[in-house]
């Protein structure tokens, strides 16, 4: 598997965890939020989102519950587990380290 995809894949997981850390959401809302916060740069399709959600659920990082949404429809809401919270902290730390290193390199080349 090529490098960029690893980045996308890992990033997608982290983004989902981050969004769910703020509040439990259903799939559609997550997708909406993703587009909002990333201004469509990442171009994550809905087709990729749901498999990722199911994978995270099976890893035990998020859990799902069926609830009524605002317009009284049943929807599956995802929320973070304790394990997920730890994973998010780990990934955020990791991300910060890597992105600091990269932006350092980028700035070095500009100077």
């Amino acid at each position: 598997m090529s490098k960029p995809s690893d980045l996308v894949q890992g990033t997608l997981d982290m983004l989902i965890l981050k969004i769910l850390a703020l509040e439990p959401l259903n799939g559609w809302a997550i997708s909406h939020r993703l587009k909002q916060v990333s201004s469509d740069v990442l171009g994550v399709s809905d087709g990729s989102l749901y498999p990722a959600l199911h994978k995270l659920e099976h890893l035990g990082w998020i859990r799902a519950q069926w609830k009524s949404s605002e317009n009284n429809r049943r929807a599956k809401f995802y929320s973070l587990t304790q394990l997920g919270r730890k994973q998010l902290e780990k990934e955020t730390a990791n991300w910060n380290r890597v992105s600091a290193a990269i932006s350092g390199i980028v700035k070095l080349r500009e100077a």
């Binding site: 090529s2 087709g47 749901y50 994978k55 099976h58």
Partner: protein, 890 residues
């Protein structure tokens, strides 16, 4: 997985294991909820409901794929995966029914061809005798004459063999015979066997009613008129009468007591026939022509088998039998000098249809394997196209961590579904074709040909093997593809980007070249066989076949002795030759190209010195007056036999041209002497060469002696007539009955029918090979069509550009067709090499055609080219209709 994680994910895992359906439902509900919400939002943004739905669907991608990808994310057990893959695979196949139907059809035809051929090989060659025990230890026994053909055994030789062969479990006789059944006022002809008394015990078949034969029933001359009848015979003729034992049935006019009924599904031991009755060998004279032979060591007429003891090889048994034969040669030099006895595997049995069909079936096994390969290449090609379409789906599944192993499993499962359906269809096809061989043979009325395909455990196992192999091939070809996936590129929702296309095109072109190559080889093979059939058909057998009918009068059954038979023959011939509409009538012991074999004799020729290892032995026929004239065999010099050439006159003979050349150096041999069976015979005529036993034979020495000087009570009656068969036979029967009211005519056949039957093995080979060759050609054409259509669809941009730059429709048409022809040329190149290497395997089926005949190769090339051009026409036409403006706009 860490303990902690395991704890957190356990509820989800348990749920998806115990309530898979509910989990699946929820997944669907979740995705549809998403879709509806998106639609709602789109509508709020001002889209029409229809547009909103379409846009939402587009954003989402294929729901089914996403569902499967979500299931992948769960990562289940092996069985769970398999069931899931199976379900998903079926769904995928249903999504593209055209593709699935085409792939399954290809596999059904190819696997069906293989299953049918295997079932014939099993049912005709390896396990030819249903219900017979231990067929793997059963061997046919035949005599040999050095430097000459296969001969049969005499009853005394057989008995000595049975007594002395310590390595044999048992030995038995089963000699095919025919019989006239008298039923009420009409006669019917049926096929049965003359068997040794131990027959039913030796083969382990026990009559369902009554008994088999007893040891004493081997002995005597016509002493034991008892018969075991087949189940079919019992059902049809006697309506399954439970009181049948002890009743009588006239066979060849002799009343036989029915002592047993054979079990259902037992057809005797002769490849090609379903036997209707069995009589003990002591009834030989009633059923076999040529007099009482049980005590004559020189009368070789017995078809026999041995079953070896467990663990004994053919070679060991052969050694022992050769030793026995050496002793017989020593004890009985007059009859046995220079003769051998040989064991043959059942599939090589020289005295039934097995040996005749062996070369054809050998070729068929190879041809069917070719067709299977071509079909696999075709289905692989189809799957490649589809895997391109499914590139996005595969990438996403890889991206969310499905793993290549998991994808491979999915692709193999899909291959397995296709090949299983194909195999099921194939076996159905083979079952429907199980009696095809008999249908292909020109069968005479009442012949009762029986050449079944047997679908048993071994054939099934072979089919299952093929099924797995096909699943592997068809699954792996598209799997090659996943190595070229660019996951990141594909994850972006739209599916542009031409990834790995170069390598894929190579695989596909390679597959097409492979298909063309194999089908070209089959085409050459089919063309060679066709050419050879033409030559056989157009070869003159050396006698004129039109308007000659052959029959026989039942004088033996009527109890005529030799003097009575002689008088009867003279009177009948005189009467027939005076009849209007009958040009001539002649008697002969054997009719050419029939089932009956000729007599043969060691010969010595005045003035001819044989080399030390040469023992001249020549076949001959006993013929009556005007025989050559009746059959239309030209008389080259001398005279035909006259009425005065009888038992009291000096012995005479007519030799054929090859014999004249071989033994008299081409000098006119009239008046010279020839020693036949120890007596000097004077040559009175030379006849032209003709075919004696098969149409494919090369000219061989042969001679005729007068019927009166080597008498046969019941010879064939040849009649050359200007009338129809019916009226001529009616006239003959009238004359016969004028002489004796009790006499009947046996089955009749025209000489032309006899000749057609002689070409049957070639006919079967040609029909089967050209059917499969045609199938292969069709599959190759479909493959070529697929590749060209795909290439055209992929290069619309290039085609549009060319058009914009001034190429016209004709240019593009030429372009596409020449691309197709280039692939074809590659295939034909390799195919020619393959054909040159392989066609010599056909040699045994070819007649007067070289396996390298250039004209055959050229005509195969022509057919291939026409097929290739037609396969490319539609894609080429589509290319020529490219609209440059639209292409460039996109």
């Amino acid at each position: 997985m860490r303990i902690e994680q395991w704890f957190y994910s356990l509820p989800v895992r348990l749920r998806s294991f115990f309530h898979p359906n509910q989990v699946d439902e929820e997944l669907k509900e979740e995705l549809h909820g998403h879709l509806e919400q998106q639609i709602k939002e789109n509508v709020e943004r001002g889209m029409s409901p229809e547009e909103a739905r379409r846009s939402a669907m587009r954003a989402m991608g294929g729901i089914t794929q996403i569902e499967q990808q979500c299931r992948d994310a769960h990562g289940g057990s092996l069985l769970e995966d398999f069931v899931q893959d199976l379900r998903y695979g079926f769904r995928q196949l249903c999504r593209s029914p055209g593709f699935s139907a085409l792939a399954i059809l290809c596999l059904t035809l190819a696997i069906g061809a293989n299953a049918a051929v295997f079932s014939w090989v099993e049912g005709i060659l390896f396990r030819p005798y249903p219900l017979v025990a231990h067929q793997e230890r059963l061997f046919a026994v035949a005599g040999t004459v050095p430097g000459m053909r296969i001969d049969l055994l005499s009853w005394p030789d057989f008995r000595d063999l049975r007594r002395s062969c310590a390595l044999c479990d048992d030995a038995f006789v089963s000699k095919i015979t025919g019989s006239t059944l008298n039923i009420g006022d009409h006669a019917e002809v049926t096929t049965g066997s003359i068997v040794s008394a131990n027959y039913f015990d030796a083969i382990g078949v026990h009559p369902i009613l009554g008994r088999g034969f007893e040891a004493g029933e081997d002995v005597g001359n016509d002493a034991h008129p008892v018969v075991v009848i087949s189940y079919q015979f019992w059902r049809n003729r006697f309506k399954g009468d439970p009181q049948i034992i002890g009743k009588t049935q006239r066979l060849n006019n002799v009343p036989h007591t029915i002592i047993g009924v054979a079990p259902e599904g037992f057809y005797g031991t002769f490849v090609g026939r379903a036997m209707q009755f069995w009589v003990p060998i002591s009834m030989e004279e009633t059923f076999d022509r040529g007099g009482y032979k049980l005590e004559d060591r020189g009368a070789r007429w017995i078809e026999s088998y041995v079953r070896l003891k467990p663990g004994v090889s053919r070679a060991q048994a052969q050694q022992q039998i050769s030793a026995i034969e050496a002793r017989l040669q020593n004890d009985y030099p007059a009859t046995n000098r220079g003769r051998g006895i040989e064991l043959w595997a059942l599939w090589q049995t020289p005295f039934n249809h097995a040996g005749e069909l062996l070369p054809t079936l050998e070729v068929m096994v190879a041809v069917a394997a070719f067709v299977l390969l071509i079909a696999c290449a075709n289905v692989g090609n189809l799957l490649l196209v589809r895997s391109f379409v499914r590139r996005h789906e595969m990438s996403v599944r890889l991206a969310i961590g499905a793993g290549r192993g998991r994808l491979l499993k999915q692709l193999l499962t899909e291959g397995l579904i296709l090949s299983t359906l194909g195999t099921a269809g194939g076996f159905l096809l083979a079952y429907l074709c199980r009696h095809l061989l008999v249908m292909l043979l020109p069968v005479r009325e009442g012949d009762g040909m029986y050449l079944p395909g047997a679908i048993d455990g071994r054939v099934m196992a072979m089919g299952a093997g093929i099924c797995l192999l096909v699943a592997l091939i068809t699954g792996l070809v598209p799997a090659l593809q996943t190595n070229h996936l660019d996951v990141a590129g594909a994850l972006k929702a739209e599916s542009g980007g031409v990834v790995g296309i170069r390598s894929r095109r190579w695989i596909r072109s390679g597959l097409v070249i492979f298909q063309v190559c194999l089908s070209f080889i089959l085409l050459v093979g089919a063309a060679l066989l066709l050419e050879s059939l033409q030559r056989i058909r157009s070869t003159s057998p050396g006698f004129s076949t039109t308007s000659v009918i052959v029959t026989r009068v039942s004088v033996v059954a009527a109890g005529y002795d030799i003097p009575q038979a002689k008088t009867f023959q003279n009177e009948l011939i005189d009467r027939l030759n005076g009849l209007p509409g009958i040009e001539s009538a002649a008697l002969a012991a054997v009719t050419p190209l029939g089932y009956a074999g000729y007599q043969s004799s060691p010969i010595a020729v005045d003035g001819y010195q044989p080399s030390p290892d040469e023992q001249p032995e020549v076949e001959y026929n006993q013929v009556g007056l005007r025989y050559l004239a009746t059959l239309g065999i030209p008389l080259l010099s001398g005279r035909e036999f006259a009425r005065s050439d009888d038992e009291n006159a000096p012995l005479v003979a007519i030799v054929n041209r090859t014999m004249m050349v071989r033994y008299w150096g081409g000098q006119d041999p009239i008046g010279r002497r020839l020693k036949v069976k120890g007596r000097w015979v004077r040559v009175v005529g030379v006849a032209a060469d003709s075919k004696y036993e098969s149409l494919g034979e090369t000219p061989k020495p042969f001679f005729y002696v007068p019927l009166r000087q080597d008498f046969v009570r019941e010879p064939d009656l040849n009649i050359r007539t200007t009338q129809s068969r019916q009226s001529a036979l009616a006239a003959v029967l009238r004359e016969v009955n004028a002489l004796d009211q009790d006499l009947a005519l046996y089955q009749t056949v025209t000489l032309q029918e006899q000749v057609n039957r002689a070409a049957a093995p070639q006919l079967v080979a040609v029909t089967l090979v050209s059917t499969l060759g045609g199938l292969a050609l069709l599959l190759a054409a479909v493959g070529l069509y697929g590749v060209m259509s795909y290439a055209v669809a992929q290069s619309t941009r290039e085609l549009g550009l060319r058009m914009a730059l001034g190429a016209d429709a004709a240019n593009l048409l030429r372009l596409v067709i020449s691309r197709g022809l280039r692939l074809t040329a590659g295939g034909v190149f390799f195919g020619t090499i393959g054909a040159l290497a392989l066609t010599k395997l056909l040699r045994e089926l070819l007649y007067k055609v070289s396996p390298y005949d250039p004209r055959v190769f050229v005509s195969a090339l022509a057919v291939m080219t026409v097929t290739a051009v037609s396969a490319c026409l539609l894609p080429a036409w589509r290319a020529s209709r490219t609209d440059p403006a639209r292409v460039l706009r996109n």
